[in-house]
């Protein structure tokens, strides 16, 4: 803590009533200070989560009250724990935010760090916020899928197979009489799960290659670049098809294939590292005698983080599309696991009779991928340090 921090801490503290009100209901403490907008955000969050809790109780799927214990209660436990964790986090965030706001109010002007500038710029960028909201929505649905789906996405109803959309089944039934909406809800788990995990691997493996190649240059760079070019010369989807046809398709295989051979990020990270390593501050750090490992982790990587974030966001979208494509060809997620791509594969046969089977899964893919793409696009603008 610096001297100035202590001054502020003395002059502006949380009063006891601030604590009590904020613990009583998140946002109540903000109201007293006149911060209506923040209070409304907290209440909106509480309302959304309250709605989820209500649904869970209504359908008897909240872990403790689940009356049919036979139907995968572990799934209910997962969603229930996440829900209560989110409730807890609203309380904690409200308290922390109130403390910070009171703290900052005492000081009329304060220097803003890079991330504060970024946050401020991002909050004014409608495009990015829409993207973030879309992603959060899909993520929310994926986390609480068992609460939102009416059935369990696998239950067949062979009497009502291929039934058209009706109030009971808003998006219709598929060829096995499974509710399309329920399958879409559970499909979000597959899309985000595989897309996210594959991107994580992409960034670890591809990021590592790009970092090594860009930083050390010379022989290691040449070897890595030739490797990338060889992989690149076969279209990625075809390469993935070939490998999966050899290894057999399962979700772990998909993640590994997409994660290891999806080397698009490696190139971008390499070119970013190439430009960062020429900066004067790297030279300065080198001159002081910083060991190489530390130089990479503490000086190069943090300065390349902006483009890393953009690449990560966009890669998730790309991976979701590729997984859908592979599943569509029958080489991705296998039935009966509900996935958007595999649903489209089934829909192909029933185009003339059941359009709802083909339209809705595609819309889900587009909306999700669009969310990641506009968020990435906005991050690219917002994170650009040259833009003031």
């Amino acid at each position: 803590m610096t001297d100035t921090d202590q001054d502020i801490a003395v002059s502006q503290k949380m009063r006891p009533q601030d604590y009590i009100l904020s613990l009583l209901l998140p946002g109540l403490g903000h109201i007293v200070h006149g911060w209506w907008r923040k209070a409304l955000i907290f209440w909106a969050l509480l309302a959304i989560q309250g709605g989820t809790l209500y649904l869970a109780i209504l359908r008897g799927r909240l872990a403790w009250f689940a009356y049919s214990a036979s139907k995968s209660p572990s799934e209910y436990w997962f969603s229930t724990s996440i829900l209560f964790l989110l409730f807890f986090m609203v309380w904690v965030f409200a308290l922390l935010d109130l403390r910070r706001s009171i703290h900052l109010r005492s000081e009329e002007t304060y220097a803003r760090g890079y991330w504060q500038i970024v946050a401020r710029r991002f909050s004014k960028d409608a495009k990015g916020i829409v993207g973030l909201l879309i992603i959060l929505f899909v993520l929310y649905v994926a986390l609480f899928a068992p609460f939102y789906a009416r059935g369990n996405a696998l239950k067949m109803d062979l009497v009502h197979f291929l039934a058209a959309p009706s109030p009971e089944h808003p998006l219709g039934m598929d060829n096995f009489g499974r509710d399309v909406l329920d399958r879409l809800i559970f499909g979000s788990r597959v899309a985000l799960g595989i897309g996210g995990m594959a991107t994580l691997l992409n960034m670890l493996f591809g990021g590592f290659l790009g970092l090594i190649g860009g930083f050390f240059r010379g022989v290691s760079d040449a070897v890595i670049m030739r490797f990338l070019e060889i992989i690149n010369s076969i279209p990625f989807l075809v390469l993935a098809l070939l490998i999966i046809s050899m290894w057999g398709s399962s979700i772990p295989t998909l993640i590994v294939v997409l994660g290891i051979f999806g080397l698009g990020p490696a190139r971008i990270i390499r070119s970013e590292v190439l430009s960062v390593r020429e900066e004067d501050y790297i030279l300065a750090a080198r001159a002081v005698g910083t060991p190489t490992g530390r130089l990479i982790l503490r000086h190069v990587l943090p300065n390349a983080i902006a483009s890393l974030l953009v690449v990560t966001t966009m890669s998730i979208g790309v991976n979701i599309i590729v997984v859908a494509g592979l599943s569509f060809l029958g080489f991705g997620v296998r039935p009966p696991i509900p996935s958007w791509g595999a649903m489209l594969q089934q829909a192909q046969e029933f185009m003339r009779t059941a359009w709802w089977m083909a339209v809705y899964p595609g819309l889900c893919i587009i909306i999700t991928v669009f969310g990641f793409n506009i968020l990435g696009d906005s991050l690219r603008d917002v994170l650009d340090p040259r833009m003031k």
Binding site: S233, I234, L237, V238, G317, F328, G362
Partner: protein, 288 residues
């Protein structure tokens, strides 16, 4: 690949002796490098047979190639015809309604899976409106279907679907590249000389902005093949993309191997051509 090719060739209910005989005939017991050499040399001297077609691999690939070439060319031309003017206008009228429309449409375009787009086109124009045929290649003249009216009608849906991603991607690229060029000082100079705005934009800005776009066309050949696998499978277009998919399903390794090699070679060739064109478009670059 899992699944024994000898078993596939022998068919259901084959005796172990038959399977064994086929294995010996295929040379599956020979050392790895011998098999590999036979694979490579067989590909070029025509001894490598496509398992299911009983024809040399090259013949099978070349029979299917025109379909993909015309689909890819049609898709690429369509994409360039729409995306370059769109990106250009979007950059010139920056932050206008048109610009927002183009950028949003382009972002949508890169978010749409091609196979779903193809399905939707089939649903709307084929199943609901009955104006376009939904699958196959239609009438063929001298191996090309764009020479007949019927073939042309069959070409529309797959070509439009295939072009969607390229269109979106190129529009974004043209816009970004154009904006970058318009920031350069020589544009200010050209304006200061009193040149007409049209001349500045087209002769000075656009020509320089085109270089990265052209470079990327070569890089997109790979994506085009990947798109062709999906589009051709969806619309039953009998090209090499569909051949790839069918051969993987049938475990016809010879064809799969030949196709992978062909796609890689084609990609590298187009990459080379683009590299040479680059020097033509941008006189600052020379190959000594």
């Amino acid at each position: 690949m899992p699944g024994d090719p000898a078993r596939v060739m022998a068919g259901l209910g084959a005796t172990p002796a038959t399977i064994e005989a086929i294995r010996v005939k295929l040379g599956l017991y020979e050392p790895f490098h011998v098999q590999y050499w036979r694979l490579i040399s067989g590909l070029f001297n025509g001894q490598l047979q496509a398992m299911t077609y009983h024809k040399p691999v090259w013949t099978v690939i070349l029979e299917r190639l025109p379909a993909t070439l015309e689909l890819g060319a049609a898709g690429m031309i369509l994409a360039l015809l729409i995306s370059i003017p769109a990106g250009l206008l979007s950059a010139i009228y920056r932050n206008s309604l048109l610009d927002y429309a183009v950028t949003t449409a382009a972002l949508m375009g890169i978010s749409i899976p091609v196979f779903w787009f193809a399905l939707m086109l089939m649903l709307v124009f084929g199943v609901i409106l009955h104006v376009l045929p939904v699958s196959g290649r239609g009438a063929v003249l001298w191996g090309w279907s764009f020479l007949t009216i019927d073939g042309l009608r069959h070409l529309i849906i797959p070509a439009v679907a295939l072009s969607s991603v390229q269109m979106a991607f190129n529009a974004r690229l043209t816009r970004a590249s154009m904006l970058e060029v318009m920031r350069q000082e020589y544009i200010d100079t050209a304006r200061a000389k009193g040149l007409a705005e049209r001349v500045v934009l087209i002769k000075h800005a656009f020509r320089n902005a085109l270089a990265p776009v052209v470079t990327n066309i070569g890089l997109q050949i790979g994506a085009l093949f990947a798109g062709a696998v999906l589009t051709e499978t969806t619309t039953a277009w009998p090209g090499i993309g569909r051949l790839m998919y069918e051969s993987i399903l049938r475990r016809d390794q010879a064809v799969v191997f030949g196709l992978a090699l062909f796609m890689a070679a084609f990609y590298m060739l187009s990459y080379l051509v683009v590299d040479l064109m680059y020097a033509y478009i941008d006189p600052r670059i020379t190959y000594d």
